[in-house]
């Protein structure tokens, strides 16, 4: 067991929308990641499943059972909180064992001991059991908080921003560990984060949420490579996708899109894209999205079709890549380069973008034309 179904669920806080007409099915043993900016309704969604909040409208099913009014303690779900919410006066052991101390879930001491140690082993916190939360690092607290949720063997886990308070390096490691734990546990999980990287890394499927409404639900590579709309394209990927407004025109039998603000740039469309623009837009007006890594740098001596020139505004080299800000017709675009490149400010650089690497969005609705 372990399924959750939202059927047209709305949650209002007075006149403010928490989530709106949410319809979503989370499958058995699935790791579902809900990604969105703060205030998008992520935590509201989790709290609705946990039973901390009741839907204003619509139906919520847990394991196939209508659960709108089921009290939290009768739902077989467990939630971890962004702030960990550990009892500071209890040891790590007691924090994890605490779930079994309530009258409803009480278990014999030796069974509790066995469970706590099993979980602690899995999370590699066995050596911390006697410590108090105040003596732990952020990453360790996070694991204790996970352990407390896992020990009850719920049918659904609800994880609220578990990695947001640990530093970048620990986050890398914890992400890998969560991948591993998820595989061992095989329990349905709803995981909420503002960081799209966690969604791509951990999710069987990813839901992108904005202003209380789901924008897209799909596998990570589809979310990344076929974003539903401009919002999804912007929210997923680093550096952020470049977006330009363009007009179409025919040129030597092919359709070209010319950006309003960057007249020296053009996107030569392939036949499928040409058909999309002709059938689904008015007068060939399209918003074009291209990711920073889609901008390819022409090496010396090569003259490529559709190439255009820009001037380097700044170049920031990182470890495994570099970010160049290129000025084309006075507009800046983001370009992702390989590591160990070198560019000078004001240097002229010739670049090109292949048609297969661009997204076409409807000018007014911002929906990706492949979904229209």
């Amino acid at each position: 067991m372990g399924t959750v179904k939202f059927d047209n669920v709305t949650k209002m806080y007075g006149n403010t929308v928490g989530i709106k007409n949410l319809s979503l099915e989370i499958r058995e043993e699935e790791f579902f990641v809900l990604v969105g900016p703060s205030g998008a309704g992520k935590t509201t969604t989790l709290k609705t499943v946990a039973g901390i909040l009741q839907p204003t409208e619509g139906r919520l099913y847990i394991d196939g059972k209508l659960s709108n009014l089921t009290p939290p303690y009768e739902r077989n779900v467990s939630m971890t909180f962004e702030t960990y919410a550990l009892y500071p006066q209890f040891s790590v052991y007691e924090n994890i064992a605490n779930s079994f101390r309530s009258p409803r879930y009480r278990k014999p001491e030796e069974e509790i001991d066995k469970e706590v140690k099993r979980i602690a082993g899995m999370l590699e916190i066995g050596h911390l059991l006697d410590r108090k939360p105040g003596e732990l690092s952020g990453g360790q607290k996070q694991r204790v908080s996970l352990g407390r949720a896992m020990v009850r063997r719920p049918s659904v886990f609800l994880l609220d921003e578990p990695l947001s308070h640990v530093d970048a390096k620990v986050r890398h490691r914890m992400r890998v560990e969560l991948n591993r734990i998820q595989r061992e546990l095989n329990t349905t999980t709803i995981y909420v984060t503002h960081d799209y990287v966690e969604g791509l890394s951990l999710g069987d499927r990813v839901g992108v949420i904005k202003d209380g409404q789901i924008e897209q639900v799909d596998k990570p590579d589809v979310i990344y490579h076929k974003p539903m709309n401009e919002f999804v394209a912007k929210h997923v990927g680093f550096p952020e996708v470049n977006l330009v407004s363009t007009s179409g025109r025919s040129h030597e039998g092919k359709m070209e899109l010319i950006p309003d603000e960057l007249p020296s740039m053009r996107f030569v469309l392939n036949p499928e894209q040409t058909a999309l623009v002709k059938e689904k837009t008015r007068g060939g007006r399209v918003r074009v999205g291209f990711r920073p890594q889609a901008v390819l740098i022409n090496r010396e001596g090569k003259k490529a079709e559709g190439a255009f020139t820009g001037k380097v505004y700044a170049y920031n080299p990182f470890v495994t890549y570099g970010i160049m800000i290129l000025e084309v017709d006075g507009t800046r675009i983001r370009v992702l380069t390989r590591a160990n490149e070198h560019f000078e400010v004001d240097q002229e650089v010739s670049v090109r973008i292949e048609s297969k690497d661009i997204y076409l969005f409807d000018e007014s609705t911002t929906t990706n034309l492949i979904y229209v």
Binding site: H172, V197, L200, V236, T320, N340
Partner: protein, 378 residues
């Protein structure tokens, strides 16, 4: 424009318990004229104390600070001709952006015409000309940051110090502000000293980086030097993302060749012949191998060491993919291209160029391969 030289600078604070706390120990550092230098380290490493001593907000306990050829130890902050922008922006909320930026010039009674000329220059450079009549509370974080930079720059300092300027900005804004700071340095060619705990920021901005830990300067070098020639285990671990892979190893000697063999797994690394005798002469048994995730490849090429692994976790991340593999008891993280996909349980042979393997003395943390490379260069 001026260089900044710190000679044997120490800073000792007296704690509430009346104990001496050494914040900076014997710091020797030369920031060249026009250079972009980052002071990098974890919190409490002494980087902020160092900066505050350069600005004059703190006195040195001992040692000398020179700006150009002038010894500035006894000079007040305003006589040092340096400017600093603060992490928290520190704007006057009751003044407009224009008044905030002009504040340092008005305090110095710079003629009005000169004030306006400089104002035009800095607002153009920082692209804030449309914000001049607003109050700081009407600005976004990124805009406040730029106003704070403008207020420091309008003084035309010889040295410009920036304290964690990007730490309160979101990811997208950070990308554009980072580019802007880099552009600004290129345009002004003033000496920049930039303090941060974020290694990626330092790597992406600085000409050279000074890495500090526990009040001690560890290494000064360019991005390439710190990545490829780390002086010790701390620097190797602190710089780079994802973090460097470490393998605890034992030195096995056999007939004039030495091998470093992992204590947990099957990883074996043959010590390059030219270093063999030197390594043996050190007389130590335990070494740690360090391999950066981006130095590992899946294509075989000459002069590489093969590492046979089993994929434990595969992460699709869009711009690059990460593989975490089990090498028996050891764990190896590898950065692969966004077009390479692996499944859990898959057996993969990884290859690392021998000259990209770092050898650390396990006991002291010294990177002996860097030491040898530097000796070989001489």
């Amino acid at each position: 424009m001026a260089s900044v030289t710190l000679k044997n600078v120490c800073k000792t604070y007296i704690s509430k318990k009346n104990e001496e706390v050494k914040a900076v120990r014997d710091l020797n550092l030369e920031v060249r004229d026009g250079e972009f230098m980052c002071l990098l380290g974890p919190s409490g490493c002494g980087k902020s104390s160092s900066m505050r001593m350069i600005v004059g907000l703190e006195e040195t306990t001992s040692g000398d600070i020179f700006i150009g050829n002038r010894k500035v130890n006894q000079l007040s902050p305003r006589d040092r001709n340096v400017a600093m922008s603060f992490e928290t922006y520190a704007l006057y909320t009751h003044l407009t952006v224009r008044e905030n930026i002009l504040f340092p010039l008005r305090a110095k009674k710079v003629p009005e015409i000169e004030q306006m000329k400089r104002l035009d220059q800095v607002v153009a450079m920082l692209e804030i000309s449309d914000l001049l009549d607003r109050g700081p509370t009407q600005l976004s974080g990124g805009q406040q940051q730029r106003v704070s930079l403008a207020r420091a720059l309008i003084r035309e300092p010889e040295v410009f110090l920036l304290d964690e300027p990007l730490s309160h900005l979101d990811v997208t804004l950070r990308t554009s502000t980072r580019a802007q700071i880099k552009h600004l340095h290129d345009e002004l060619k003033t000496t920049f000293i930039y303090v941060t705990h974020d290694q990626l920021e330092a790597i992406s901005l600085a000409d050279r980086i000074a890495v500090m830990n526990f009040a001690v300067l560890q290494q000064v070098g360019t991005r390439e030097e710190l990545l490829d020639y780390p002086i010790n285990r701390f620097v190797a671990d602190f710089i780079g993302e994802p973090a460097i892979n470490f393998f605890e190893c034992t030195l096995i000697e056999d007939n004039g060749t030495s091998t470093l063999k992992s204590n947990k797994g099957t990883l074996e690394f043959t010590v390059p012949p030219k270093w063999n005798s030197r390594l043996v002469a050190r007389g130590r048994k335990h070494y740690t191998l360090g391999i950066r995730p981006h130095d590992i490849h899946v294509e075989k090429s000459p002069d590489t060491t093969a590492i046979a692994g089993v994929v434990d976790v595969f992460e699709f991340l869009g711009e690059e993919n990460h593989v975490t593999a089990q090498i028996d008891g050891d764990v190896l993280t590898v950065v692969v291209s966004p077009y390479q996909f692996y499944t859990v349980g898959e057996k993969v042979n990884f290859y690392v160029p021998n000259n990209r393997v770092h050898i650390f003395d396990t006991e002291t943390g010294e990177c002996v391969s860097t030491t040898y490379k530097l000796e070989d260069k001489e």
